[in-house]
Symmetry: C2
Subunit: 361 residues, 2 copies
């Protein structure tokens, strides 16, 4: 999955500078052939910071670098480049992260230790520091509280204790970003960062209503962003929500939902608006989970297509027409217990192949 965060943020109001106390800028520094490829976010004050990072064994240098910074619970700036992922780049890659933080420090006057660094793009190449440094300098000059739409970062901010914020972010990520798949390919660079400037003056205390409200709002926001990631998958024509109920437990339900969400046969059928319920059941059946296939119900785009494991007679053209929309729900009900899960994905189109077959060459 190679997501341009800009696209997601277009859908939110105000973007990353909507909260008080943040300025941002997005500029072109020449890492990509055209378009913006570097963003800088700077807070007016030192922020509480939290982050969750990819579980991939192969971690990009900025993931390792920023993980260390986030562990301090404090940050004041985030610099992100696209075009080059700074992954599989060895010690040299780690040095590039330090150099980026140093350059942000030089251009903004902030401490290096408060700068988070992220990269996304092609794996293996070293960052071109002359371009990066020019970009940082350029961005620092045009930082603006209206710069959210020029920049690119998924973020929400309020004020809370760093540790609680980390727990809240991890919970929210599990309920949102970890329920999304475009093609199952967890990247070397996946990163979610949360900064709170404290400018609202609100202080969240453990056990309070405010904290509960914050966690709820954070979940809703991350869910919205997660769905945007699925919707913006390469070549996607629709968002697909997979609901599984009645599994023996939540883990079983999750395994089934994810297997359906990652099935290329299901995803190509969704692209073709083909109510091919067989592929959905076949994907469920190979999820590594035991269930009685003779008591399964399946609804596709709100049309009952399977009852008790058997195809229900339905009008194919009507079902196909119902799938010709930008949001399709697949609802699978088993009879094993109370386990449930949701997953979000998109369809597989010709453009998925076109975009990904042409990425580096």
């Amino acid at each position: 999955m190679n997501v341009t965060l800009e696209m997601q943020l277009e859908e939110t109001t105000g973007g990353i500078t909507a909260p008080l106390g943040f300025r941002a800028a997005g500029v072109a520094c020449g890492l990509k052939a055209d378009g913006r490829d570097l963003m800088l976010l700077v807070a007016d004050r030192v922020c509480s910071a939290a982050g969750v990072f990819t579980t991939n064994v192969v971690k990009a240098a900025p993931v390792i670098y920023s993980y260390r910074t986030v562990k301090t619970g404090r940050a004041q700036a985030v610099v992100i480049n696209s075009g080059i992922a700074n992954a599989c780049t060895g010690d040299e890659g780690m040095q590039r992260c330090e150099q980026m933080a140093a350059e942000v420090s030089r251009a903004t006057g902030l401490s290096e230790d408060l700068v988070l660094v992220c990269s996304t793009g092609v794996i293996g190449r070293q960052l071109l520091m002359e371009k990066i440094n020019l970009g940082i300098e350029k961005a620092a000059r045009v930082l603006s509280p209206k710069g959210g739409h020029d920049a690119a970062l998924a973020i929400m901010t309020t004020d809370t204790h760093p540790t609680e914020m980390q727990v809240a972010l991890r919970n929210a990520a599990n309920r949102s970003f970890n329920r999304v798949t475009v093609d199952g390919d967890t990247s070397t660079n996946d990163t979610v960062l949360l900064l709170a400037s404290g400018m609202t003056g609100i202080r969240l205390q453990q056990g309070t209503q405010d904290l509960a409200r914050f966690e709820y709002a954070l979940c809703k926001l991350t869910e919205m962003l997660a769905k945007a990631i699925a919707r913006d998958g390469e070549g996607a024509t629709k968002l697909v929500e997979i609901l599984v109920h009645g599994a023996a437990n939540d883990a079983d339900a999750d395994a089934i939902a994810k297997t359906i969400a990652n099935s290329p046969l299901v995803k190509t059928a969704l692209f073709g608006n083909d109510p091919n319920m067989g592929r959905i059941l076949a994907a469920a059946g190979r999820a590594g989970v035991q269930f009685n296939p003779n008591t399964v119900d399946l609804d596709l785009a709100n049309i009952p297509v399977v009852r008790n494991g058997r195809l229900v007679e339905f009008d194919k053209p009507t079902a196909s027409a119902a799938m010709k929309t930008d949001e399709v729900v697949i609802a699978l009900t088993l009879s094993e217990g109370a386990g449930e899960a949701v997953a979000w994905t998109c369809d597989f189109s010709y453009d998925y192949v076109r975009i990904n077959a042409d990425y580096t060459t």
Copy 2:
């Protein structure tokens, strides 16, 4: 994966009637819009029989039916239809299997208990028995020892004790068919059958050289057929062999090989002849296996692209040209132990999307 077995068998000499004592026929009975859709294989004698079947929880009726027959270790005929999978068809589907065996019995004079039944095609629909019965009658009339190329079944035959044959087939399947993936979608109908007519007069005894030779030859044959399945994946332009060495154990190596083989990002890069080593490492890193990413070596189409976890400088156009062939090898070497594995797959092309987006409608 929806494989037409005919395609694979074109590559073997003589097909399923190459061994002594088998006659076959492939006919059109109208389940599919055009082309042959029913085959019949009949042996001159009662055969030793073995079979391995899909591990999918959702099993097609003929899988359940033929599993029971194979357990007796004896069979003399196999009838296979395409077009309709007879999966998710309930008790009615099981009755259709019995009816197919009865019709073969009627047309050939063999006992119903000796008839194996297989189906492949669209899930959910009931078999149209009038067409099936006409097809069986038609096929029985034109059975021929030269009918292998008209029919469709992956089979090898010699003579051995049924139980040993089952073990040999399971081992061979694990080393071949279970190492193949087109899109990760284990079907509801996957079946491998092995029949031995005994017509050669060779008797295989446990612990003998002949048995060892048989097992070796069976492995080679199933490996050849397995590669043919990958090569004939929908829209495939090339066979891809993934070799993993140096994992902590074979299971780890297998998990990594399969994750690379199923990665849509890797497969679209292969279609585009894009030497995108980053996607291969990223897929390896999300296989759920621990390894040191800084000691990984990767060769792509015999070109070293990663050494010690870092991109090696290589000429992209040369590497891309080396990938423009019908067999590409991806060789990944870790430094965790002696675990190794191989997997076979194909690339993901526009035609994969086209074929699978249009399957039922």
